[in-house]
Subunit: 151 residues, 2 copies
Amino acid sequence: MTASKDTDQWVTAEQLEVWRLFIRAQSRVIRRLEADLLAEHELPLAWYDVLVRLLEADGRRLRMSDLAERVLLSPSGLTRLVDRMVEEGFVERAQAERDGRGFYAVLTDAGYERLRDASGTHLRGVHDYVVGRFDDTELATLADLLRRLDP
Amino acid sequence: MTASKDTDQWVTAEQLEVWRLFIRAQSRVIRRLEADLLAEHELPLAWYDVLVRLLEADGRRLRMSDLAERVLLSPSGLTRLVDRMVEEGFVERAQAERDGRGFYAVLTDAGYERLRDASGTHLRGVHDYVVGRFDDTELATLADLLRRLDP
């Protein structure tokens, strides 16, 4: 489990180092993206993510279960998050009309405005901290490698 | 901000897709690693991470601020986590002797035992879900690309 003991039957120390590099790289990027959004727009990254997913959806609305899947949150975690966003006026809840089961989260005009204000900051960060550091060939290589991690 | 509108001055739609792939790949891997640790050892991944960092440290102890830096948690988040691990007997607190400022977190024998029991599960997951999916050359390429994300 230490650097030397990690050379067990499963993973070499070198392999473990790459895994740690992967975790660390993403954590740092996420922290920077979040810090920028908070500093410039008082918007947590998870909120931004919810707003984007709603904007991209038909009718700017998603069933809560579909939204949870897209933002990679547990249903209970998403419920708490959306509750706070409803209080801020960025999202509304709407009952699912057809079958009466469950709720939709719907993007409000205020949510859209906030997203529009913040998107420049976020996309500049995605460029500066991530994609702008690679040329097209490197980015394609990275994408190929990442797809290997799909189930 | 939609797939088409993301083609702004900062990021193309293709670049944004790679960024989303990156986030999604890591989130899925983390979820699987955590699910395995919880199912087989009732151990959250963040706890495992704390135990490993302490085991690797001199004297199996780390100053709280150093530990927070290594596990990528905020100081307040780490304090809550360590409080729970102290209750479970996996970690002890010790006052920093020399300068009297701050505390160390120290790995206990019970913490070591739990880590030893769980490490096979975790490292098997790191192999199966991540590093075992690449050959040495691919892994070196991935590492080179990830290092590009350093500050």
